[in-house]
């Protein structure tokens, strides 16, 4: 039996020595995901921070075979790998990993194709809510009013004008068996979900909320605290959609979003009205999810 800490294997397959910033949320997501997947895994990575910090030739942070192609094609490369292994009778976990830009924006078509074809691949999107590798530009995962370099806090533009794309639902609407959201503040939950995703006989999708201190502008020792605030204030709802049925992680004593916002430079410009609107937005989404949970099967499963 492998040595465990807090229910997770002690062995690291995503090793220290990579060059992420200190306090990097996505780097934690990589560590936990790999602990869940184990050694019998191939990782297919999209271009983005986690790819760049972990693979500068001739060094590698990965103790499993790893391939990176382009920004948007991790799902398609993974599809080819899966089919090749299948035809050779090889049973290997395939993890495809992409940031929010790779997944919500440029690679959405490729992801949709991979899911529709039913490839047995677990796709993990680590969401730091912008294109961080290229210096913090807006993605369709950037939240309402957030300041990025392309959604500045100016006269006409007051941060991002549009809310975050509801990607887990878009994926669930493909009829997959397993979709989940998770965060880096609850490693056990994320770990279990990756294990579950990999065990599904077909595609699965996990969206992991992973704050970036550089882009969100907060002190490097606050990554976990901020993630906790996002969960307690319901900014980042944690749920599973298994066989079309949504199960939401309960939040006891839901808190207001103020503290979450105040901890981050990217929301520094917000006025009272905008904070109010944002609170309203978060509350509405939470209400929608809690109601959806009572309805039983809300997505058709075709796979």
């Amino acid at each position: 039996m492998a040595e465990m800490i807090l229910g997770l294997p002690k062995e690291e397959l995503f090793c220290s020595g990579h060059t992420s910033c200190s306090g990097c949320g996505p780097a934690l997501a990589m560590r936990y995901a790999l602990k869940a997947a184990g050694k019998n895994t191939v990782v297919v990575h999209a271009t983005g921070c986690m790819e760049v910090v972990s693979s500068a030739y001739p060094l590698s942070a990965w103790k499993v075979p790893w391939i990176h192609g382009t920004f948007e094609n991790a799902p398609a490369i993974a599809s080819g790998i899966e089919r090749a292994f299948k035809s050779k009778g090889k049973k290997v976990n395939i993890l495809a990993i992409g940031g929010d830009g790779a997944t919500f924006d440029i690679g959405l078509g490729a992801l949709s194709g991979m899911i529709e074809r039913g490839h047995k691949v677990c796709y993990i999107c680590y969401d730091n809510e912008a294109y961080m590798n290229t210096g913090k530009q807006r993605s369709s995962a950037s939240p309402l009013f957030a300041n990025t370099t392309t959604t500045p806090f100016g006269k006409k533009i007051h941060g991002k004008l549009e809310p975050k794309k509801p990607l887990p639902f878009i994926v669930a609407a493909h009829g997959v068996k397993y979709v989940a959201t998770a965060s880096i503040a609850n490693p056990q939950d994320f770990y279990n979900k990756v294990k579950k995703g990999l065990a599904i006989d077909g595609p699965s999708f996990i969206h992991v909320f992973a704050p970036c201190q550089f882009g969100w502008k907060f002190p490097t020792d606050k990554t976990i605290e901020i993630t906790g605030q996002a969960i307690k204030s319901c900014v980042a709802p944690i749920y599973e959609i298994e066989n079309g049925i949504l199960k939401l992680n309960k939040v006891d004593n839901k808190i207001k979003i103020d503290n979450y916002l105040n901890m981050q430079g990217r929301y520094k410009h917000l006025n009272k009205e905008e904070v109010f609107q944002l609170q309203q937005f978060v509350d509405d989404r939470w209400k929608f999810l809690t109601e959806l949970e009572t309805k039983g099967k809300v997505f058709d499963v075709v796979q």
Binding site: K39, N40, T41, V42, V44, E51, V52, S55, A56, Y57, P58, S60, W62, K63, V64, P65, W66, I67, H68, G69, T70, E72, N73, P75, A76, I77, A78, S79, G80, I81, E82, R83, A84, F85, K86, S87, K88, V92, G109, A110, S112, G113, E116, R117
Partner: protein, 338 residues
Amino acid sequence: MDTHIVERLAEYVDNGELNSELIYAESEHSMFSAAAGASAAGARSFTASSSQGLALGFEVLGMISGMRLPVVAAIANRALSSPINIWNDHSDTMSVKDMGWIQLYVESAQESFDTMVQAFKIAEETLIPVMVCLDGFTLSHVTEPLELENVSSFVGKYRGKYVLDPKKPLLMGPVATPDSYMEIKELQQKDMLDSKNVVKKIHNEYKKKYKRGYGDGLIETYNLKGKKKALILMGSAVGTARVVSDEEKDFGVIKLKCFRPFPEEELKKVCKDVKEIAVIDRSLSFGQDSAVYTEVKKCLPNKKISGFVAGLGGRDITRKTIKDAVNQIGKEGQIWLK
């Protein structure tokens, strides 16, 4: 149009003639990517595309060659938008000539078949992807009696060198900083230049076994012996050029089969006694002479060479086109034969 190719492949897989997995990608970008993934996982992989599809896949072409994945593709040459035009010319593959793929241009359906078979062996021996370029419609949608061979013994078992395997972890497609990028590209360039010999070798092995060959595998000549004039071109129009050469008897034909790597020494050799050359390009390089003409001029600086543009967007290259080219050798600038 690559549709006929993939339709027939589906048929072969379905009736058990071909033991293979089919992946139905949602786009050409994903299609090339899935082929790359399968190749990286240790499977012999093939795909087909053309025109806009190839243009969409552009990014992945460089990714595949940079990762040294021996993917093979059939490209049915067609024009690029805009205006949209589904017919034959060489704009698509000539635009990706610098993406690190071996490019072989064929003249007939028979040559497509023979070259395709060789392409797998070439790719696997050199770790360079190979693109077999066949004229859209003229070759991709043609009915032609074919001599088919059972080629499994010739191609042999898949010999991919680097494979994603949890027992031997490796990294494919890492970041290369300014400290290492040039060395990696230098190696790739060296191997690309050297691959010429592998193309020749495998062509000759095939010729020996099946008694069908195309020059030395890089260049094929026709009626060239003793001629002072030559016409250089690629693809199916070579057939027409042969006919005109037989009729007119005043020029020989040089078919450039391998455009990448460019067979410089071989071309110099076959042109030793040639004084005047016409080059026909079926694609443009906006703002400069077309690619075949430019590269032939560079290779043969002391000959009288004229460059012609013909057959764009499906315009037929007729006997008259060929004659017009040969008769106008000596003219300066880019000459359009419409």
